[in-house]
Symmetry: C2
Subunit: 507 residues, 2 copies
């Protein structure tokens, strides 16, 4: 539409519709249209651009998203979609992803629509699976395909795996022949294996070539894949021979042969290695990138440290979230019903253990009727055991994660933990006993609670060590189920010891 | 001593002393000595080398320390220190460090003594602060100095910071003038800041130089510092201008000027940036290394991604350990008394909250005397609230860590969490009520516990969101104190609501 026409249209509309239409005007046309408008109208429409705030707020807080979330949400309420679009285009994709995840669903979609496909693709990579899949589904197929075109293969694989089967397949089919074949190959490996992590953009050279010709070859490529710190050395059957570090390449004489300057001892990663294992290798050997090979020793691709950092971060996220029975990929603003369902499972499991503890108490109703003080004090016994046990549990879970706890030293650890349980048990049983005597003026109750606490802390140490080892044996993640089982034990033992002793000695 | 003499001595000794002496024989002498021994004696002494097991076990389980800990401990019991020394010398330092930390103190020291200084230095780097300091103190000064000589500056800084003041200073004084000055400069920055993380081994070049001469210059250096993926570009006043990536260097023509091929937009890190912030930058921008500059823009050093990976790992460790009131650097085999003291603090804090809950129950002794069923059921109300609350708490703590939760979206999040609390509250209050009615045959008790659980789950959602935000405001780590405060709230509210309602409606 001609700028003049558009301008007169804008003048004809009421302010609200006008805003709506104005948001549709392309950046290129803007100036032209503004020229055709009455000054004050031009001013009102143009205001939100000159207005300070958003950009500043977003640049200022570069280290934190703090204050930015509010700025974006205000701008959204004011309907300044254009400006938000601009701001997000200038933001680093990772930061944009972080901001998007911090927005409630509606606002998230609103911002998402302002992003062009290329940018959207870059942002998708940095989103958590759940959010990523939802936003990807909000795009129509062509947009998604256009966005996906710009992605690295490994990111593309992640995206396809995060999408529902149908849309994933469509995305796959939309790729050109070569890319599709590579993708299919990569998709055939589990997501959390070296094969699922690797990228196929590595550069490989032959051992018999001279450094000089390698340099000429690289200059022809003009620009190397991201995070290229080494090129792979292979034989004519593409079997992995070693690596040639760029730092070595630039320091060797052009006449030297690759075979003389390459690092042949640099071990490749097996394509079936688990992602945790890949991460540990990278950490232990301080690698920036590593080759991935199959059983035949053929070079399949490479894994770069940036992907490994993501693994480490996700693992720690998962560990922490799992302890509370949460799904680490869960979207902070997932629909209430979805979150309720997810969390109710954990509450249900806990309910069973809670009723188990209640049943134990129920066995001593007669005692409780006679000495109500016991009902007052019994939670203390249980909770002290729970805290002490979770300390041991956490230590052991971390030890297992680092591979530092196993049959070989479990006994030594048990001795130590029992020792701590004994000392802390003696210390706190005395304190609690004293308080109980002061409160209820009964030496017997004091003695009974002291004994119960000491006993519970010893059981807590035993349970805290053995539960994760047993769960591990059964292939269950100790971080996930350990806590619930432990508190069940400490509750049951605590209530039973305290009320049982009371029944024996007081009734 | 002449091999022959040594041999006859060995024959004179009883088998135990013989073993002891034999362990002292240097690898170089061994063969010579063995030649002078009677065949069968030579065989017995030489056996433990041919004997399979240790090496195999340690190579086999390369991905895990599993089965290795046992192998090492068995070898230790058999007194085969020599072989262990050899095995540890061939092992990657990080792996050796992991194994050492998995050993009880005595055995740890025994293995430690078998390591030569150079190896010991490399291993020290990979140990946790506490273990590192203890083992370093087991070495006499010269050994420690010799070991430290081999370390990178940033690792040396870590070591000095981990050591007691006295030994740290001595180690510092033992360094040559230049190194000491660099160290003092680096030590002046907080351990968890960019300054504390940086290394000063970067290579810097001038913008006006040609690529060709850079290449010649690098060839003269022969080998570059570890993890060199880029060289820094500075002006004649050493002010940071940008970076020149090796991947760009090798692809540009030798006649091009550095200024034409360097990346001037690549932002340096301020020397005072917090380590968490450094880690986030590396993750968001997928950097392999970054320059560190001061306010004047002068280049001070560089941070490499391998150190950043350690930060990420340590942060996640700390978060998980803190939740249980444990010190993340704590040595798994720290002396029992030390551990007891550390953990008793947390137990003490918990005791206060436990007595608070008990006090609330105490207010309703009259009610409990009349209806003992309440004493049986009350822990269920408290524990359901605790679990639901910790789910919200964990979600918010993680959101804060990612910078995705703040005033700007707290309200939206509160609405969501309260919604989940309401739905799960309704669901589980009905279930619990039903069970309570079946168990105690009282509709009133069923209704009361239902109301109490619903109320407690709503409070749990509110507390789970607000507690971390408030702690954060006061600069307290929510992961550390959040859990205890939350359970205090859910216990108190749970007991008060349940027993209070019962007192009103049943008495």
């Amino acid at each position: 539409m001609h700028p003049g026409k558009l301008a007169s249209l804008l003048e004809a509309l009421d302010s609200e519709q006008r805003q709506a239409v104005w948001q549709q005007v392309g950046d290129d046309q803007e100036a032209a249209v503004l020229r055709h408008l009455t000054p004050q109208l031009a001013a009102t429409l143009h205001r939100d651009h000159d207005e300070p705030g958003l950009e500043e707020a977003l640049d200022a807080g570069e280290e934190h998203l703090y204050t930015q979330i509010s700025s974006v949400r205000e701008a959204l309420e004011a309907g300044k979609f254009k400006r938000i679009g601009k701001v997000f285009r200038h933001m680093h994709p990772a930061k944009a992803a972080g901001l998007l995840e911090a927005l409630p669903p509606d606002e998230r979609s609103a911002v998402w629509e302002t992003l062009d496909n290329e940018r959207a693709g870059k942002v998708l990579v940095h989103l958590h699976d759940e959010v990523r899949a939802n936003l990807a589904l909000e795009m129509d197929e062509d947009e998604l395909v256009a966005a996906a075109r710009k992605l690295d293969l490994d990111d593309l694989v992640d995206l396809i795996q995060a999408l529902p089967k149908g849309s994933g397949r469509q995305l796959l089919l939309s790729m050109d022949e070569i890319k599709r074949q590579q993708l299919v190959a990569m998709l055939s490996y589990p997501e959390d294996s070296a094969g699922g992590l690797m990228n196929t953009d590595h550069i490989s050279v032959r051992a018999e070539v001279k450094v000089g010709s390698i340099l000429r070859y690289l200059r022809l490529l003009e620009d190397l894949p991201d995070h290229t710190d080494k090129v792979m050395v292979v034989d004519r059957k593409n079997r992995y021979q070693g690596v040639l570090r760029l730092s070595r390449l630039v320091t060797s004489s052009p006449d030297a042969k690759v075979s003389e300057v390459m690092d042949a001892d640099f071990k490749p990663l097996d394509v079936e290695l688990s992602s945790q294992e890949v991460a540990r290798r990278f950490e232990d050997l301080d690698m920036l990138s590593a080759a991935v090979t199959n059983e035949q020793g053929e070079l399949l691709g490479r894994i770069t440290v940036d992907d490994v950092m993501d693994i480490i971060r996700e693992d720690s996220d998962r560990a922490i979230m799992n302890m509370a029975g949460l799904d680490d990929e869960a979207d902070m603003f997932a629909p209430i019903l979805t979150s309720t369902r997810r969390r109710s499972v954990w509450l249900g499991i806990n309910l069973i253990t809670a009723f188990l503890a209640a049943w134990v108490i129920g066995q001593f109703q007669g005692t409780l009727e006679q000495i109500v003080a016991l009902a007052v004090l019994m939670p203390i016994v249980a909770s002290m055991g729970g805290i002490a046990g979770s300390q041991t549990l956490t230590l052991v879970i971390r030890g297992l994660a680092l591979g530092q706890v196993e049959g070989g030293n479990a006994k030594a650890l048990l001795v130590k933990e029992m020792g701590i349980g004994l000392l802390n048990g003696l210390l706190w049983s005395v304190v609690v006993a004293a308080l109980a005597v002061i409160w209820f003026g009964s030496w017997k109750i004091g003695g009974i609670i002291a004994a119960a606490i000491l006993l519970n802390l010893l059981c807590a140490a035993l349970a805290g060590l053995t539960i994760p080892l047993i769960l591990r044996r059964f292939g269950i993640d100790p971080a996930l189920a350990g806590g619930v089982i432990l508190t069940t034990v400490t509750d049951v033992v605590g209530f039973f010891a305290f009320l049982g002793l009371a029944t024996l000695l007081l009734i």
